[in-house]
Symmetry: C2
Subunit: 319 residues, 2 copies
């Protein structure tokens, strides 16, 4: 059989690399309050090519050079301070995608990553899947016909795609304690690869899990999340999204972000009749925003901590 | 782990389905002179959706309807006459891509498929991998910047990609007989998804195997074709391509087909020093065109056979 995508397993994350578009397809990591602690420092890390992939298929440092795009981490460096080796591993290009720096990777997206970390305060185990999306758009505003269009970086024929959007899927579990049953929550977010206004509520970027799955061509945690659980999460996501979008409109934002449509399968799969995932019939899955405050930390939150400088301002740019 | 591409195994072919772009990624089939014979008839076959893939991820009949594109077979129906069941199986949408009908699927590509069949006269076993390509192009003629751009069919958010090109990789083996050693040959061809002039020599569409692999993000037959074998096939492909392109220019074709660049790895991997594939050090791999006449059958070759009507003129169109 032809050999395509490459599964790469690193210290603290795994990445499935799409060697056609030279981007990861998804990156998965596991976070706990304890795993976020450690002495690893990004000051000691360097971006490196992934030598586990043949040169002709791997993302290259030179693809980013002079492109104006950041080498944006999918599994964030700051999630893997446990050891310097774990942090270094997040700097391989099998964990990065071309991301807009100002207003996105260094701002809104960084705040979003920090929010994900905060979920470990309330949940014992947090699984995060992060990756790029290539979303088609109408050929003209309101047109019926759709087109896929995105830039490619590097030297032909060895080119690297610039994703139009990025997603995070978060699945969190609080273990059973003192007679209290375990609880599980999930949420999916999709953000455009462009500057996002500081004041945008993050809930405006909440999307139904099924919509993300259909856009990404992926099914997340199929053994845990069946149609019934997905239906519940989807319904809640649409409520949170509506609330967030309303705030956007009230704020009169000039930048109307590209948002995913509701799920195509929504009508076909009412939660009440959906099939529950095998093996976990007693654990309903709620939406993260129903149990955790879905509000981003302040802009430049790092200024209030020990780090005064934006940690990714200079090193991320593929200059 | 997230569940992505789906491997679908049918009677006489297998398909890896890209559920993001709703096209097969590749389709593999095995041909012999005997396997081409049989009573299967396409008149008895109907296009069907692949029920082995969830509705929200599968290609749909409605995606093609009214699009103007043919439901183009990757494994051709006429390769699988062995039984009606085998032929029917080629009509599932996990074996089709949106192809331009007039001048391509019903003409040049059909002649190319017939040529592939003819390889079974000289070779005992013929393996064929067929699939779509999405090739980026310069943003403007001669520009340094590249863009990926192709139409998407269907109803958003459930959209199906229209490939820009199609490839076939052919690997053929003649078994050892009467003291004569076995011989193996390979060749890769890439054709644009648009009408191709009848007179274009097929060798103009020969491409280095490595160039195809790098564009498709696939490695074909990695256990059989090592760097050394690939280097030999690549060098021959470039010679055949140059010959074919020269004929194009002499003919003063108005339609200059989009052709793949030479392989990026060509200079880095001289055939003499390349690593041979493990296990088959004694079987060098030649280029198909060095042993089989790489000339397409005549336009409308089916008129000279029992079938008078173009077999795919009405049924393929997703009307």
């Amino acid at each position: 059989m032809p050999l395509g995508d490459r599964l790469r397993v690193f210290d603290r994350y795994a990445s499935l690399v799409d060697v056609r578009l030279r981007n990861p397809r998804w990156v998965i990591e596991h976070l706990t309050a304890a795993s976020l602690q450690g002495a690893g420092s990004r000051g000691n890390s360097q971006f490196v090519e992934d030598e586990g992939i043949e040169p002709r298929f791997r993302a290259r440092l030179s693809d980013y050079r002079g492109s104006g795009y950041d080498r944006g981490h999918m599994a964030p460096a700051s999630n893997h301070k446990a050891s310097q080796q774990a942090m270094d591993a997040t700097f391989t290009l099998s964990n990065t995608c071309p991301q807009v720096g100002e207003g996105f990777n260094r701002d809104y997206w960084a705040r979003f990553e920090r929010w994900v970390q905060s979920c470990t305060k309330q949940y014992d185990d947090v699984w995060v899947v992060t990756g790029p999306l290539y979303l088609p758009r109408p050929v003209a505003p309101g047109a019926k016909d759709w087109v896929m269009q995105h830039p490619m970086l590097g030297q032909a024929p060895h080119l690297m795609a610039v994703p139009t959007h990025f997603f995070k899927l978060i699945l969190a579990e609080k273990k059973e304690t003192g007679g209290k049953k375990s609880t599980v929550a999930a949420a999916a977010f999709v953000m455009p690869n462009c500057p996002i206004a500081e004041s945008d509520p993050m809930t405006a970027y909440a999307v139904p899990l099924s919509a993300l799955e259909e856009a990404a061509g992926l099914v997340f945690f199929p053994k845990l999340i069946g149609d019934a659980e997905r239906g519940t999460v989807d319904a809640a996501a649409l409520l949170w999204q509506a609330r967030g979008r309303k705030a956007l409109l009230q704020g009169g934002e000039k930048h109307q972000p590209v948002l995913l449509e509701g799920p195509v399968s929504r009508n076909a799969l009412p939660p009440a009749k959906g099939k529950a995932a095998a093996g976990r019939p007693t654990t309903p899955i709620g939406h993260m925003c129903d149990s955790v405050s879905c509000v981003l930390p302040a802009k430049e939150f790092w200024k209030t901590t020990k780090t005064v400088k934006n940690p990714r301002s200079s090193k991320s740019l593929g200059a």
